[in-house]
């Protein structure tokens, strides 16, 4: 196995593009090494991106935040400004594994593992996160929901490497939240998860919403119908009819599988429940209640 430590993303992309045989990007390694050890993959080339300055830091920019692809999840919780602006995204990232895993795992790795149950992904999608991709033909920016196309499958071309995730500047009167249902209280894979981001007007009416669900379809899904169900409403009067509509829209967007963690029926039911609860938290964080 060839091990390379490029110092620019361009160089990493070139290595990946020119690789003969199987090539993998290494950031935190919490998925990659598990797959290597189980014999699922036998890399001919591993490109460690942790020596690239552009992947290392969390930056507050005029457009919002830029989180490098090698930033471990624990560093997100240590960044007060990021936590204040996007608490749902940070909380979702912090749900991945134990403290040991938090020291290494990254949200880009979580995305590129391409699991529908990835914890940070629904929160990123709800927040309107984008991936900065560097490849042999240059640089492009893609909405996070466009990156994964199926379980284990991505829209990245050979040689393309994600350098960072950007989050927009949090609009005034906005809030985000993420909730996950697992069989225990810590360290498990989501049966269902929901990320919600809301923006309110001056009268505390929801004017913009994004709702994303995890582990209920082949990929994490953005559910515009769920957003539509709550736009124009207030949530603080616990409007049951609105909440029912939200839950129904979420249920309609689900096409889950039965597995040892949960049944199809259970996942569909819980998707609506989590979306409602996450929406309430996001509404409070937006200053609605």
């Amino acid at each position: 196995m060839r091990y390379e430590t490029p110092t620019t993303t361009r160089e990493a992309a070139t290595l990946m593009a020119q690789a003969k045989g199987s090539a993998f990007v290494l950031a935190g390694g919490t998925d990659l090494l598990v797959r290597m050890k189980s014999g699922l993959i036998e890399p001919d080339l591993v490109v460690d991106i942790k020596h690239i300055p552009a992947t290392q830091s969390i930056e507050k920019t005029a457009a919002g935040f830029r989180i490098g692809a090698a930033v471990p999840a624990v560093a997100m919780s240590e960044n007060a400004a990021l936590k204040k602006a996007w608490p749902g995204v940070v909380e979702a990232a912090n749900l991945i594994g134990s403290d040991q895993i938090q020291s290494r795992c990254t949200i880009v790795g979580n995305l590129c593992n391409a699991s529908p149950a990835a914890d940070s992904v629904p929160a990123m999608i709800a927040a309107g996160a984008k991936a900065i991709i560097v490849g042999p033909h240059g640089r492009r920016t893609v909405a996070v929901e466009k990156v994964v196309t199926g379980p284990g499958a991505m829209s990245l071309e050979k040689g393309e490497v994600i350098e960072a995730i950007t989050l927009p500047k949090r609009p005034p009167k906005s809030g985000d939240a993420f909730l996950r249902f697992i069989p225990r209280t810590e360290m498990d894979i989501a049966i269902v998860s929901a990320g919600v981001c809301l923006t309110l007007d001056n009268k505390r009416v929801i004017k913009k919403a994004r709702v994303a669900l995890g582990a209920v379809a082949p990929t994490v899904v953005l559910v515009p119908a769920a957003a539509k169900a709550i736009v124009g409403s207030k949530l603080d009067d616990l409007n049951d009819e609105v909440m029912e509509k939200l839950a129904a829209a979420c249920a309609a967007a689900c096409s889950p599988i039965d597995d040892k963690r949960g049944t199809v029926e259970f996942r569909i039911e819980v998707a609506g429940v989590l979306a409602r609860r996450a929406a309430k938290i996001a509404y409070q964080r937006a200053g609605g209640a």
Partner: protein, 159 residues
């Protein structure tokens, strides 16, 4: 397979080793450096028996490549005691019988050290969350939580 020369600091000592590119840091520590305190439990980052500190962060050494340690500072269970003087965590684990078979113990001690370095006065809940990445099939955890609380008290006294 290709062998690589790696320079690191292990428990304060400048250390060089040669390893294969696909070899884990845990295997390097145990098989090449003779530091067998860190254990392999699951090998997939679930059990925490291989916990070490790399550049101040708690990690599972089974999920780190040896070559990634280039230029890093690694701290293992072998460096926890100060010569013959046990770290308060070690003394309190013995005092509270917070171990039986002992396989998970080095990992628990390292994870608990990282916790106490960050928070010398943790609550029971904070201890349990901080040690959630370490599995023990003997003690039922209660004695471990008590030992960490007692060690925290000792650490605060010494400050």
């Amino acid at each position: 397979m290709s062998a690589v020369l790696v320079s690191t600091t292990v428990n304060g000592d400048q250390t060089e080793f040669v390893c294969q590119t696909d070899e884990t840091l845990l295997d390097v520590l145990r098989n090449r450096l003779g530091l067998t305190g860190s254990k392999e439990g699951c090998g997939t980052g679930d059990c925490g028996a291989c916990s070490v500190i790399v550049d101040g962060r708690l990690v599972c050494s089974c999920l780190v490549l040896g070559v990634e340690a280039e230029g890093s500072e690694v701290n293992t269970i072998e460096g926890l005691a100060d010569g013959d003087n046990l770290h308060p965590l070690q003394s309190k684990f013995i005092e509270h019988a917070a171990l039986q078979c002992g396989v998970c113990t080095p990992g628990f001690l390292i994870a608990a050290k990282v916790l106490l370095d960050r928070n010398p006065n943790p609550s029971d809940v904070e201890i349990r969350f901080a040690l959630a990445g370490n599995l023990c099939r003997c003690t039922g955890y209660d004695k471990i939580v008590r030992a960490v609380k007692a060690a925290a008290k000792e650490v605060r006294k010494r400050r």
